[in-house]
C-alpha cells in the first residue's frame, strides 16, 4: 500500500535518512522501532509532506506522493498523528476531532464522530472540555481519534505510548489493534519495542537513519540481535 524506496532526507547539512526502503502492506500493522534520533519521525514527516526528500520515491496505492503538499496527502488517505500529540490545546475535544475531519464533507462527519466515540467512549463524555486540560492518556486518545476522523487508509502513529503510564499504554495499544480491525492500515513508530512488535504483523528496526533489520513482529522479538541493538549486550 505504501512503498518507500531509497529515500534520502537531510536537515540542512545533516543527513537524517540514508537509502531507506520500506513497504507497508494493506490492512497490516507495521511497527517501526529504533533508538531516539534513528530517523523514525523524519521518515513519517517526509511521508506526510512536512519534509522534502532529496532523492528516492514514495508511492501510496501506486500514486507518487513525494511532491504533494500535506493537505493533498491527507486527502489521499494518509494521516500522520505526530509525536507529542500536538493537540490544539485551547480547542475543545470535539473541535480537535472536527479539525481532523477538515478535508471531509459535513455530511460524513457525524458518522465518523460516532465511530471515534465508539472506540473512545471517554471522549464522548469529555467532548466539551478544552483539550489542553486533559490527562496525558486522554490527550493521546484525542490525537488518535483526530487522526481517525480524516478516514485514513493509512494511519501513521508517532510514539503513541510516549509519557504514558503502563496501564494507559496497554489501553492505547488495545485501541491500535481495534482500529486495525476496522480496516485501517497502521504504521506505528514506537520506543516500546517489545509491545509494538508483539502487536505488529511486521516490523522494521531503524538505526542511525537506516533500516537495520526487518521481519515479522514475532521473528524480530525472538531475534537476539534486536535485544543487542537496544541493550548493548
Amino acid at each position: 500500500m505504501l512503498a518507500i524506496e531509497k529515500l534520502q532526507v537531510a536537515y540542512g547539512k545533516v543527513q537524517a535518512l540514508w537509502d531507506v526502503t520500506l513497504g507497508v502492506p494493506d490492512r497490516e500493522i507495521v511497527a517501526l522501532v529504533g533508538a531516539n534520533g534513528a530517523g523514525k519521525t523524519t521518515l513519517l514527516k517526509t511521508v506526510s509532506g512536512l519534509l522534502r526528500r532529496q532523492s528516492g520515491s514514495i508511492t501510496f496505492d501506486g500514486k507518487h506522493i513525494e511532491e504533494a503538499s500535506p493537505p493533498e496527502i491527507v486527502k489521499q488517505g494518509v494521516v500522520h498523528v505526530p509525536e507529542g500529540r500536538k493537540l490544539f490545546p485551547e480547542l475543545t475535544v470535539i473541535d480537535n476531532l472536527l479539525m481532523g475531519a477538515y478535508t471531509i464533507s459535513q455530511s460524513e462527519r457525524p458518522q465518523r464522530l460516532e465511530r471515534v466515540f465508539s472506540v473512545f467512549p471517554v471522549l464522548q463524555e469529555r467532548q466539551k472540555q478544552i483539550a489542553g486540560t486533559l490527562s496525558g492518556g486522554e490527550q493521546q486518545m484525542v490525537a488518535i481519534g483526530r487522526g481517525m476522523m480524516a478516514g485514513p487508509k493509512l494511519l501513521m502513529l508517532d510514539e503513541p505510548s510516549l509519557g504514558l503510564a503502563p496501564l494507559l499504554v496497554e489501553e492505547v495499544f488495545g485501541v491500535i489493534t481495534e482500529i486495525n480491525r476496522l480496516g485501517v492500515t497502521v504504521l506505528l513508530v514506537e520506543q516500546n519495542t517489545q509491545h509494538a512488535l508483539t502487536l505488529a504483523h511486521r516490523g522494521f528496526v531503524m538505526e542511525l537513519g537506516r533500516i537495520a533489520l526487518s521481519g515479522s513482529g514475532v521473528d524480530l522479538l525472538a531475534n537476539s540481535n534486536v535485544r543487542k541493538a537496544y541493550l548493548g549486550l
Binding site: G37, L162, H195, A196, G209, L233
Partner: protein, 239 residues
Amino acid sequence: MALLAVKGLTKYFGGLRAVHDLSFDVQTGEILGLIGPNGAGKTTAFNLIAGFIHPTRGEILLDGESIAGMKPYAVTRKGIARTFQIVKPFRKLSVLENVTLAAFLRFPSRGEAESQARQVLERMGLESKISALAVDLTLSEQKRLEIARALATQPKLLLLDEPMGGLNATEIEQASLLVRDICKGGVTIIWVEHVLKAIMNSSNRVVVINQGEKIADAPPEQIVENPDVIAAYLGTKKR
C-alpha cells in the same frame, strides 16, 4: 564525601509529577549514566541540578554545599557545566568565540580565554573548524562544540544531555572515547543517554529512573539483568 548528592528531589509542573523523591550520589572521578524511558524525568533532573528550574522539594549538594534554587550562571560558577539535549550553540558566532565566551568565566582576559579555548577545542578535535560559524557545523560537531564550551568553564562536574542523540555509529564510537577521555582528565560526569550501548560500555554506575522515580542504581552489568529496567524499557509483555 560525594561530589554531588541529590536528596529527595521533587518537581511538580502544575499537577504533573515530573521528578519524585529522587536521591543519588556521584563520586569524584565517576561516570554516572542516567537512563530511563522518554518522559521519565531525566532532563528535568538535569535542569534542576543546573538551576534552570527550581525544585518543589529536596536538596542538591555540591561538595556538601546546597545549590538548590541557585540561578544557572551561579551553578556554573560553582563548577557544574552542562550540555543541552537539543544543541544550543551561539549560532552566528565562530567556534572559537563560542568556547572563548565560556572560558571568560575563569580567564577574564581575552588572550588567556582564547588560548584556553584553543586548547579545549584541540582536545575535542575541532581545531580545524575554529573560525567556522557554529551554525555551519554538522550535528556531531555541534555536539562536540557544546561539550567543549562546557569544559571551557573548567567544571568539576559535567552534565551531558544525550551527547550521542542523532549521531551515527562511528561518531558514537568517537564520542564514547571522548567522554571517557574527559573523565580521565579529572572531570566527573553525569550522562543522560538513549544509546544504551555506549552508556553501558562507559559508565561506572547507572541510575535508572521511570516516571520521575529511581528504579535502579547499580553498575551497568547488573542493570541489564534487572527485570524492572527491562520492563521499563521494552515494555511489559502483553498478557
